[in-house]
């Protein structure tokens, strides 16, 4: 009851809850497409690659406004995705190796810059390291507003191009054959994924952000066979885990938000993998046992 009261009237808690819910919804929705298109790891690479963008944006402008830093993050994430495509197209390096190279080079460069910035005796750099593991408690109303606007844009585009994105995810060749510009749609969907990552960076951090793309979608897939239901469920799972994790981390000192949120969504994934009807492990085991028993009974009946 007290928590509910705080949620409504406490400025900080309200920002945390709203911000985390937004992050969960957006990454839950875009994550479905990333997972279905087998691009989950691309999200991971782009999230890690955002770090040097954040630090560089700060070094160049000297500003700590989240919008400035997030623009840097988006540019760096986007650059990483382009570089990745270039490596895959132009060299003989396979996709998984290319992902590994891009991720570690960008992230390593980001850590180097971060260490350099932190040596400066300037108080303004304080707090940049929160982008590593996220810090929901640092969310202010302005941040939440930025997240809400970016998120609304992302969701609007998903709604407008719903049928095109669905076809692109299921059968890109057919989409191209009937005349949709699949290259443009592909770039657009990837850009929206970058947006979803950027929205979550301050709360979850670059290291674990990809979990917020992958986990809600994987959990949602277990419970439904319809894309629309999957996207809706994924958004709910993402939002729920986001709020729960952020609130838990806000109650204690020194609990990083990113890992807490990720543990929450992991619990949802675990339950979904085990219990979901039709696709869950328990359901499958039970079905197999039932089948085996029935066959044994039929065989036994036949021999008598």
């Amino acid at each position: 009851m007290e928590l509910l009261n705080d949620l409504i009237f406490n400025y900080t808690l309200r920002n945390i809850a709203l911000g985390s819910a937004l992050l969960g919804i957006i990454s839950g929705v875009l994550g479905c497409f990333a997972v279905l298109r087998r691009q989950a790891l691309l999200g991971d690479a782009m999230a890690h690659a955002a770090l040097p963008g954040i630090v560089l944006a700060f070094m160049l402008t000297g500003l700590r406004e989240s919008l400035v830093l997030l623009v840097g993050a988006a540019l760096a994430g986007w650059l990483a995705a382009l570089l990745l495509l270039l490596i895959i197209r132009q060299t003989r390096i396979k996709e998984d190796s290319a992902l590994g190279i891009v991720l570690s080079v960008f992230f390593g460069f980001g850590m180097l810059l971060l260490a350099a910035v932190q040596r400066q005796p300037d108080a303004a750099q304080a707090g940049l390291s929160k982008f590593l593991f996220g810090q929901a408690a640092s969310l202010v109303a302005g941040d939440v507003l930025v997240m809400a606007v970016l998120g609304a844009v992302a969701l609007l585009f998903v709604g407008l191009f719903w049928k095109e994105f669905k076809l692109l995810s299921f059968d890109p060749d057919f989409a191209a054959a009937v005349g949709f510009p699949t290259r443009v749609l592909d770039v657009g969907l990837t850009a929206l994924t970058v947006l979803a990552i950027v929205i979550g960076l301050q709360t979850v951090g670059v290291v674990l952000m990809s979990a917020m793309l992958i986990a809600p979608a994987v959990a949602a897939r277990q419970w439904t066979n319809r894309l629309s239901t999957m996207v809706l469920l994924s958004a709910i799972f993402g939002a729920g885990a986001g709020v729960a994790g952020a609130l838990i981390s806000a109650t204690g000192r020194g609990i990083a938000t990113g890992p807490t949120i990720v543990l929450c969504i992991s619990a949802v994934v675990l339950v979904s993998l085990l219990l979901a009807p039709g696709r869950g492990l328990l359901w499958t085991w039970q079905q197999q046992r039932r089948n085996a028993r029935r066959m044994r009974a039929e065989l036994g009946g036949g021999s008598r």
Binding site: K163, E164, F170, D171, D173, A176, A177, V178, N225, L227
Partner: protein
């Protein structure tokens, strides 16, 4: 007479290796044509190049005298069944509805009219009772029929089908043949990548023999000869000519045992 399909000088290369070399194929409307050839002969690539999915190094394709770009709505496409993830969260009806997306264009969602068309197409391929089934629960033959239904709702004049007979049961094979004949009766033109040389004379009117270059293309009775097959498959097929005296070319074509898999599967 206006040709349904006119392919001229079509050449496709991956890096420096030509996959298709200077291919010319023309076919009249209302004809069922098989495209046959060994693995890596460029059969799928030819279809993809015609549909603009692969960029040709040279050559052009005309559908009823106009570039494909202007004729998209007159062309239906059945990709290889294995080219998509059948565990995608969607239903049979939903996949068939995708055949209308091109005509709907941007932003418009399929409605009652499109749903009726999709159900009618499912009826035609004998899958109406599976409309709300999740696609991962289908057998290979059923998946193939769903793809055919999706092409049917495209309501096209010219159809390209990539290996619709691969891995399907006898029931589905008969259903597909029946459908092809219906399409021909309605004046449609159909190009089918095919593997079973034995059934070519039975199912098709025309045939294109392809092995990177076009070996021959024309009416089955004229070009589906022992000589042309030998040139296409390079001596890897043996022939038993028909002994019933009809003299309509090789009735039964058997691969030599050692090369069986390479000549008859993809």
């Amino acid at each position: 007479m206006q040709h349904a399909i006119d392919v001229t000088d079509l050449t496709v290369a991956y890096q420096d290796k030509p996959v298709l070399w200077d291919v010319d194929v023309s076919m009249p409307p209302g004809v069922l044509m098989a495209v046959v050839g060994p693995n890596g002969a460029g059969k799928t690539t030819m279809i993809k190049a015609i549909l603009g999915l692969v960029r040709p190094a040279a050559g052009q394709t005309l559908i009823y005298g106009k570039p494909y770009r202007e004729q998209r709505k007159a062309v239906g496409y059945v990709p290889q069944r294995g080219s998509v993830d059948w565990d995608f969260p969607t239903t049979v009806l939903d996949v068939v509805l995708m055949g209308r997306y091109g005509s709907l264009g941007w932003f418009r969602q399929p409605g009652k009219h499109e749903r009726a068309q999709a159900l009618a197409a499912l009826e035609k391929v004998g899958m109406a009772q599976f409309a709300s089934r999740q696609i991962s629960q289908l057998s290979g033959g059923q998946q193939q029929r769903v793809f055919l239904a999706r092409a049917l709702v495209q309501d096209a004049q010219v159809y390209f089908m990539d290996e619709p007979f691969v891995g399907v049961d006898a029931v589905t094979e008969r259903a597909i043949v029946g459908l092809l004949q219906e399409l021909r009766a309605a004046g449609k033109t159909v190009v089918v990548v095919h593997h079973d040389l034995q059934t070519v004379p039975e199912y098709f009117d025309w045939v294109t023999l392809l092995n990177v270059q076009k070996i021959a293309s024309g009416p089955v009775a004229e070009v589906f000869t022992e000589e042309n097959l030998r040139r296409t498959y390079g001596g890897r097929v043996a022939f038993l000519s028909r002994d019933d005296g009809t003299g309509s070319g090789p009735a039964l074509v058997l691969p030599t045992p050692a090369k069986q898999s390479s000549a008859f599967t993809d």
